[in-house]
Symmetry: C2
């Protein structure tokens, strides 16, 4: 029931995902049964009629409450215990599913995931990774908004969480982690950045390649080589993410004014389309909770479901537990 | 002697500026006399021969020491008391000039400006504003790297400094100031951001229009209207500035691959060219010290000299003193 285009986008995305996944996978659509059923019927009678063969692998699970996008997370999860968010996550906690995907209220999803799935030991809050598309490869930036006022210990945890995500979901081998900072040298930056640099340089759970400046992110590299994961606090990460989302539309507008065609722009900038990536797992909870953009299209949600499958099948969650424990032991 | 293209770019920029300024303006070229003289002779014998009539309004001032771009600021200003940086700033402090312009080591220029020109009362460090070109108007973002670990009081000072700069140098009437944050609501963000929001809402020296998110900067507006000045700490500002500088080249590269012509790109993206703006005054010192990008072209330096003239003639420095004092009194 969450996201700007619900229930159409999640229902359509689920059907499209089933068409790409093998027959062992099934999907539960969690929400107000009548609304979801009507949407499903409409899609199967119309534009997605060719996917009717996958109907049998879809189940509708009743969840009467709906959390709105502007609701306060804590109030929403307390006041609406039977929202699609809470019901969907409880299914997972009770063994009735392996993963949860939503384009709904991000704050509520984070809070509900913490309450229902709980956190790995040693973590105070989960982190939200964002994929920054670049001309080269995608770069994971985390945290992108769940955590502000981070300590150096928390930034080190983000580095470990981001490493496992890059390995298990993006398929990177021995991913390189950089610390977002305002200069290359270890002694540059804020007090927290300086402390974090020292801690990461000694951390056995992370391949640390030093500081990464603002200009290095889209290069996907600093002077020490390619970078897969960029660590920062959620304040900087959130500002950067929203800024980046606004740049391409501005430049596209300026180019259209100069006579560049829509077609040229679309084919050139396809790599920058967030829908290619779909969604990202909330990192640090004991389970799989995939956060999607509120404006997710059916294709974005389909891709988010594939991310969820990848996270489950790669055993990302188990690896995160091990990585956090290993680093604790080493410290 | 500073900047990647010195002495050619500053000498050529000075000649070009004189050609645009009226005859009452003169420029001192501060550096190693023989080197500067040779460069000047070469330009006047060659590509800038048409500007020879302005030679009489140029004076060369000897400064034997040269600060390199990688030198530590404190060591550079102590160890090289007769650098072009120190000599040029002392000229101003002693009444021999009205403004100083440099494309050299930014950290050294900031430190030297603090030592030689000194700070207005109540300030701990100066702030560096950066102009973010947008499709609409330029937006001042400050601080962009001089200050990390800022208190809410310091962020309020940036708001006052940025307001005067926007009025006096950019010609904005009653400029609107926004606080960079991760949400619209006053209670969003880091501890410092929340405190700063409260202080700005009560500040008589600033027209505060609330929080500005990452996506609002290039819109030049938030939901409350147009924004001229965006306040943030120097860590976030520096990351954002360097990130922004890297976006256009990446997108240009992707578009060239898709057959968009160089000419279309250049004409469309001219607004994004930092050389149009030239440089920005270091805000908070008692005088005018214009900081330019290390890669400044002659045109960028010419424009920076015009910014210096505007700052002097608008009496920006006096207005900053008054604005800081007024706000102190009001608090």
């Amino acid at each position: 029931m969450g996201g700007d285009f619900a229930p159409q986008a999640p229902v359509a995305g689920a059907l499209q995902a089933l068409a790409e996944l093998d027959a062992t996978h099934t999907i539960q659509l969690v929400g107000q049964t009548a609304v979801v059923q009507a949407q499903l019927d409409a899609l199967l009678a119309g534009e997605l009629a060719h996917l009717a063969q996958h109907r049998g692998r879809l189940e509708i699970v009743e969840a009467p409450d709906v959390i709105l996008s502007a609701e306060k997370p804590s109030a929403a999860i307390r006041g609406k215990p039977n929202s699609s968010m809470m019901v969907g996550l409880r299914l997972q906690a009770e063994g009735g599913s392996d993963a949860f995907v939503s384009a709904g209220n991000t704050g509520a999803q984070m809070a509900a995931s913490m309450v229902v799935l709980r956190l790995h030991g040693g973590l105070k809050r989960p982190a939200i990774p964002t994929l920054f598309p670049t001309a080269k490869h995608t770069v994971v930036v985390l945290d992108s908004g769940a955590n502000v006022d981070c300590s150096s210990d928390e930034l080190v945890q983000f580095a470990r969480l981001g490493s496992v995500y890059a390995e298990d979901v993006l398929g990177r081998t021995n991913p390189a982690v950089g610390l977002l900072n305002i200069g290359e040298e270890p002694e540059k930056g804020s007090t927290v950045a300086k402390e974090t640099h020292q801690l990461l340089a000694q951390d056995s759970g992370v391949r640390f390649i030093g500081n990464v400046e603002g200009r290095d992110i889209l290069k996907g590299a600093n002077d020490h080589g390619s970078v897969d994961v960029v660590v920062c606090d959620g304040f900087v990460g959130n500002v950067l993410l929203k800024f980046y989302e606004s740049v391409a539309p501005m430049i596209v507008g300026m180019l259209e004014g100069a006579g560049v065609t829509q077609q040229q722009l679309q084919s050139a900038l396809r790599k920058l389309d967030y829908a290619e990536h779909g969604g990202a797992p909330l990192l640090g909870v004991k389970g799989v909770s995939i956060i999607c953009h509120g404006k997710s299209s059916p294709r974005a949600l389909k891709n988010a479901i594939l991310v969820a499958v990848q996270a489950v099948e790669s055993r990302m969650n188990e690896h995160i537990g091990g990585r956090l424990a290993r680093s604790e032991g080493a410290a």
